[in-house]
């Protein structure tokens, strides 16, 4: 069975639906990119998948032994206060918390896992730096590392490249693609339809009807794609 199966789901706030009749499934190792305009409900969908909101209608099922607390998450905006004292190491380790159970402290294995992930993302030398003094790209890497500490199966990223410059954006996309190739399923919300088509294996387009869900090859040939690319993607 698929990792996540979404059937007939409506999403919204206080019973008022924003997105209706959503059907898609995410298999193990997929790289799903969710695109759509601002306010179309992408972040709402992420929050629902993470169990922070309940669905208005329909059903979301987890398969393959995936549990709610085994999902790594990179929120759209992390409203960290400007003067929050926190070192990179402290933040990344906090991703391991869901693996602690009732134990009060992190185990040696968890600390090693965090160190490995930091090495993998090339941020080992930032370890003792203060988070708020990092550049935007470095901060996103730190939050990505934290998300990776929280999961071995599924990573949910909500507009991870928002506000980053093109070079940093490209590096982050490549990093995410590599992580996906190593076997972690990725669900990413993005504005950037071109990047979505370049990197993802599946595309979900929400907002304007009809909703689209399928592989990226199908998406390239669909009407919705051309329409969206020329609406929002091309400047010409």
């Amino acid at each position: 069975m698929a990792l996540i199966n979404v059937s007939g789901v409506s999403l919204g706030y206080e019973g008022k639906a924003i997105v209706t009749d959503l059907n898609f499934s995410v298999g193990k190792g997929d790289y799903l990119c969710i695109v759509g305009e601002n306010g179309s409900g992408k972040s709402t969908l992420m929050k629902t998948l993470l169990g922070q909101k309940s669905v208005v209608a329909g059903k979301i099922e987890f398969g393959d032994g995936l549990r709610q607390n085994e999902i790594g998450y990179l929120p759209q905006q992390t409203e960290v206060q400007k003067d929050f004292p926190a070192s990179v190491k402290e933040i990344i380790l906090s991703g391991c918390l869901n693996g602690c159970g009732i134990k009060p402290f992190y185990s040696k294995a968890q600390k090693k896992q965090a160190a490995d992930i930091m090495k993998r993302l090339g941020i080992t030398d930032l370890s003792d730096k203060c988070y708020r003094e990092l550049s935007g790209g470095q901060q996103q890497r730190v939050l990505l590392a934290r998300a990776l500490c929280a999961t071995k199966k599924l990573l949910i990223l909500d507009e991870p490249v928002a506000g980053l410059d093109p070079v940093v954006t490209k590096n982050l996309y490549h990093l995410i693609t590599e992580i996906n190739k190593e076997g972690i399923t990725v669900i990413m919300v993005s504005h950037d339809i071109h990047a979505a088509i370049e990197f993802a294996s599946h595309i979900l387009h929400i907002g304007n009807k009809p909703l689209f869900f399928g592989t990226k090859e199908d998406y390239k040939n669909s009407d919705g794609c051309h329409c969206f690319i020329c609406d929002g993607g091309c400047d010409e």
Binding site: K47, L50, G51, Q52, Q68, N69, I71, G72, Y73, P75, T78, V80, Q81, D83, F84, P85, A86, S87, K89, E90, I91, L93, S94, G95, L97, N98, C100, P104, F105, Y106, D128, C130, E133, R146, A147, A150
Partner: protein, 280 residues
Amino acid sequence: MNIIESLSSYFSYTFVRYALIAGVLIALCAALLGVSLVLKRYSMIGDGLSHVAFGAIAVAAVCGTAPMTVALPVTIAAAILLLGLNSSTKIKGDAAIAMISVGTLALGYLLLNVFSTSSNVSGDVCTTLFGSTSILTLSKTDVILCLALTAVVILVFILFYNRIFAVTFDEAFACATGTNTKAYNTLIAVVTAVVIVLAMNLVGALLISALIIFPALSAMRLFKSFRSVIISSAIISVACAVAGIFIAILYGTPVGSTIVAADIVSFIFCFIAGKIAKKS
């Protein structure tokens, strides 16, 4: 020499020793919690709770019961309520907190004035608000209660340190990855209530916020990781409490406001030190 001699002579009095023990413990708890409260923008909740505690103590005085037995449960209940108000989007959180805090303050004073049998009402009120001498009149039971409660607070803080950090730093992430943020927020609120009721003995209701906020802010000028901020704010807080109690005893100043004055001086010092460190 003279000062040291007179201090050591004061140490032969048990009430001085009790005051020091209680002062150090309360300052320690307040500082540990203060960092989270400041960072979570809960400073105002701390202030509001201290006023609730004042109202509760007024009720206890009128009913003739021990202050702690009324103040502790009432303040804990208020903490949970205020936290709920703060997170609900429908009622403006800060307005609700201000409302409850001035409301209980006014009602407490009213009750004391109308029903109190004491001949010196304004003196009593002043003591409760500014803690002028109550730290120096602690009984053995007070100190033991204080020891027990601070032990619980410190234990809770150590056991839940990693979770408190996660909830303070990024609640959305903690919640999404399966941490029960609501439970930990409630835990923080309950512990805050306990610390506030304890701290009323030391500095009085109106000055508690200072004890909670200043050490955290001072430490944040100097240090950049959560752990170092917590540890240094605990050290700053304890040092200021000890200095404040000594100065108060030597020069006969009110204990509470002397401790807060020491906290202010340390904040100014840390502020300047932080600026210099940034430049170099």
